[in-house]
Amino acid sequence: MRLLARRLLLTLPSLLGVLVVAFLLLDVAPGDPVTAMVGERADSATIARLRAELHLDDPLPTQFGHYVWDVVRGDLGRSYITQRPIAQDLGERFPKTAELALAAMALAAVTGITLGVLSAVRPGGIVDRIAMLLSYLGVSFPVYWVGLLLILVFAVALKWLPPSGSGGLAYLVLPALTLGMRSIAFLARMTRAAMLDVLSSDFIRTARAKGLAERVVVLRHGFRNALVPVITVLGLDTGNYLTGSILTETIFGWPGLGRYVLTAIDKRDLPAIQGSILFMSVVFLVVNLITDLLYAKADPRVAYD
């Protein structure tokens, strides 16, 4: 518990740092939110009035101060473009992103780890070769291409699944597969390497020597000890996916965080960009924290004191 509190406290400076960097970057980047607000045809007077109303001409430290003060009071502000509260927008998108991320990770964990373990049991065998070929392809193929290919095959040609949109489980399959593909490949390779390492150690030989079933040797003694690198990959990828995946969400018209941020950046919707960055940072830090706690669970030798 003390550990948790300390870790949570430590995240505050990180978040502040993220905000400062985001503010500075947005300030030096070209482009102007008012340009997106007024559309293709406007007059200079309207542009000047809007800039003043939005306090865009205030000194940067003043803007930053206002923003931080609002955030501390729990107000992420309203979008310049849509005028909707940012917190509400994020609240609508995050469950969708989480749904997709968790589906992708579940798929990746089951498939990737299974492939990795099976490959490591008989390195060089037929399963190993096929699995490694698959994972090689999985890492190499661009998400964009795979997504469109899946749509073409399963939605247009076979008509088994809807091409895009969100809704029931049917809508989840193709995007989850597309998003999770890289993780499947990566996890398979990572698990295989870690397993091979563990399976050649002395205690495994001892386990076999004392007559344990191969299944017990591989899963209870082998896999348990290969878990730490696997958890690392799982944690990192989960963090990445939970903060939105622009390509997958765009291809499949998935209404998640990735597209929200992309639109916000495109329109220079400053409060929406800052709110999203802040939110994503929190998600990432929380996932990292959980990952760290899981290390200790997986390997009792890991301690945080």
Binding site: R41, R49, V173
Partner: protein
């Protein structure tokens, strides 16, 4: 154990395929229609309609005093007729009797007044109130210099009188734009999320970045729409859109550029083609470096093989531009003799301008318009042989627009979409000197004679005389070559065979989906 991954996947696929239905976004059956937008509308509040998706959605749920048909013709809407008086300074709009908003409120002249005021009020943050600025006192009110819009008058409970600051013959077209849509009085609180209009479609639901759903307005003054519901999906990726259409889940779609040849070959029976009110061009900054010289600008027009670029890069989806006014609008002239591909003439002009040894220019393009980015590359390649070395500058749309508005771009490849179907929309914003930068004149073209002709055309009420003026202005500007003239795009759409009563609109808000339905 060994078969686990495969079975997991198979189960997932099979169960979901069998469970199928999703949330009702499946093919529009019966009288359900499905349309799409490429990004989420900004809002459903007419006051915030500054982009195409917002404008199109506002056009479904609300009415203006006037409206456009798919071919860009001006029709009555909430005003069933209007009269012009005082030498074109006063417009009296007579409101249609018995119109009610979706919440049951009656349409009154006061509703029209309040609708316009809320668009003009400082703090609305729409940024696109200009269609209402011709009304006397509107601009002053919008800038906070006045607390009243003197030009809006109520005549009893059936008419609105709008007094203009100066005559503007095309003013009734301005009132068909989404920003001039009429909302109930007093305006409901959250129109952006829960629109209340009098339009053909009642708002049902909006899942951001996913879909919007509308149901037909049974009490619509022009008769209820033929279909029961209209779902508007948000589909950002063009190839996904094509897949959705092929899977039978979209009623109509614009054919993605990259797919033009395939669709022409495989589905010619589904295609609808229509010249759009749009022009693609390269704005040459008339106030920068060598581009100040008219001969240099003309040389650029001679150096580029436009028909070839149109055919190869743009899928042949356009008509060569010999002016800025698209075909289909009075005043357009696509047969004008003018610049053509002749590199020798381009070299001669550069020589005569004193740039025989060549020049260096930047050409800006943006990453979000793939087709125009390719056009830029082709232009770059074709300018090289005549001695114009072009550096491509690639930015995102927002940065590019900001730079172009400030006059920091030598050349920038752009397209201009009509706000209202009139040649004025291709002359006043694009070539009037008062429209420099944000107003639309990215070429910073300034010519006192053209200015005065443009203003005269705006005041001319006689259609034939105005058309003649448009033609004269277009001709005059063309000779000065403020642009590299490219083409007027042709829209290419595909329509499901069972969808009837739908036609490609030449202007974004010219299709209100009232006659569209699925034939049994």
């Amino acid at each position: 154990m060994r078969a686990l991954p495969v079975t997991t996947l198979a189960c997932l696929v099979v169960t979901t395929a069998c469970g199928g239905g999703g949330d009702g976004q499946s093919p529009a059956r019966g009288s359900q229609l499905t349309y799409y937008e490429t990004y989420d509308p900004r809002s459903l509040d007419p006051a915030l309609s500054t982009d195409v998706p917002t404008g199109e959605m506002v056009t479904l749920a609300y009415d203006g005093l006037t409206q456009f048909d798919p071919d860009g013709g001006l029709l009555p809407a909430l005003a069933d007729r209007w009269t012009v008086a005082r030498g074109g300074l006063r417009y009296v709009f007579h409101l249609r009797a018995g119109v009610r908003f979706h919440d049951g409120t009656r349409l009154t002249p006061e509703a029209v007044r309040q609708s316009f005021l809320r668009v003009l009020t400082p703090g609305t943050r729409g940024g696109r109130a200009w269609p209402l600025y011709p009304i006397a006192g509107a601009a002053a009110y919008a800038s906070g210099r006045s607390s009243e819009v003197t030009g809006i008058g109520l005549l009893g409970d059936s008419a609105v009188a709008l007094d203009l600051a100066e005559p503007l013959a095309i003013f009734p077209k301005f009132l068909a734009m989404p920003v001039a849509a009429v909302v109930p009085a007093p305006p409901p609180a959250d129109l952006g999320q829960h629109p209340v209009g009098s339009g053909p479609w009642r708002f049902v639901a909006w899942q951001h970045d996913d879909y919007l759903r509308f149901a037909r307005n049974q009490d619509y003054w022009a008769g209820a729409p033929a279909a029961d519901t209209l779902t508007v999906r948000i589909i950002p990726e063009p190839l996904t859109r094509a897949a959705e259409f092929e899977a039978g889940r979209l009623s109509v779609m614009e054919v993605p550029f990259g797919e033009t040849a395939r669709w022409r070959r495989e589905h010619p029976e589904l295609l609808l083609e229509k010249p759009a009110l749009r022009v693609v061009y390269v704005a040459l900054n008339n106030r920068r470096g060598p581009l100040r010289n008219v001969r240099v600008r003309q040389a650029i027009n001679y150096a580029v093989n436009v028909p070839e670029i149109l055919a190869t890069v743009y899928g042949g989806r356009g008509i060569l531009a010999r002016g800025a006014i698209p075909p289909g609008l009075p005043g357009s002239d696509t047969a004008r003799t003018g610049y053509h591909y002749e590199p020798a003439e381009a070299k001669r002009l550069l020589q005569a301008a004193g740039y025989g040894s060549g020049i260096e220019l930047q050409l800006w393009r943006n990453t979000s318009n793939v087709e125009l980015a390719r056009v830029a590359q082709a232009v770059q390649a074709q300018l090289e042989p005549v001695g114009i070395r072009v550096e491509l500058v690639e930015r995102d749309a927002s940065s590019q627009r900001e730079a172009a508005r400030k006059g920091e771009t030598d050349m920038v490849v752009l397209d201009w979409w009509a706000d209202y179907p009139d040649a004025d929309n291709f002359l006043y914003p694009l070539f009037y000197s008062g429209s420099f930068g944000p107003g639309g004149n990215y070429a910073f073209y300034a010519d006192a004679a053209a200015d005065s002709l443009i203003l005269r055309a705006r005041r001319t009420t006689d259609d034939a005389a105005r058309t003649a003026l448009y033609r004269e202005i277009d001709e005059r500007v063309y000779r000065a070559a403020p642009w590299l003239y490219l083409w007027f795009p042709t829209d290419l759409w595909a329509k499901r065979p069972d969808v009837v009563g739908w036609d490609v609109p030449v202007i974004f808000n010219g299709q209100r989906w009232t006659g569209a339905r699925r034939a049994p």
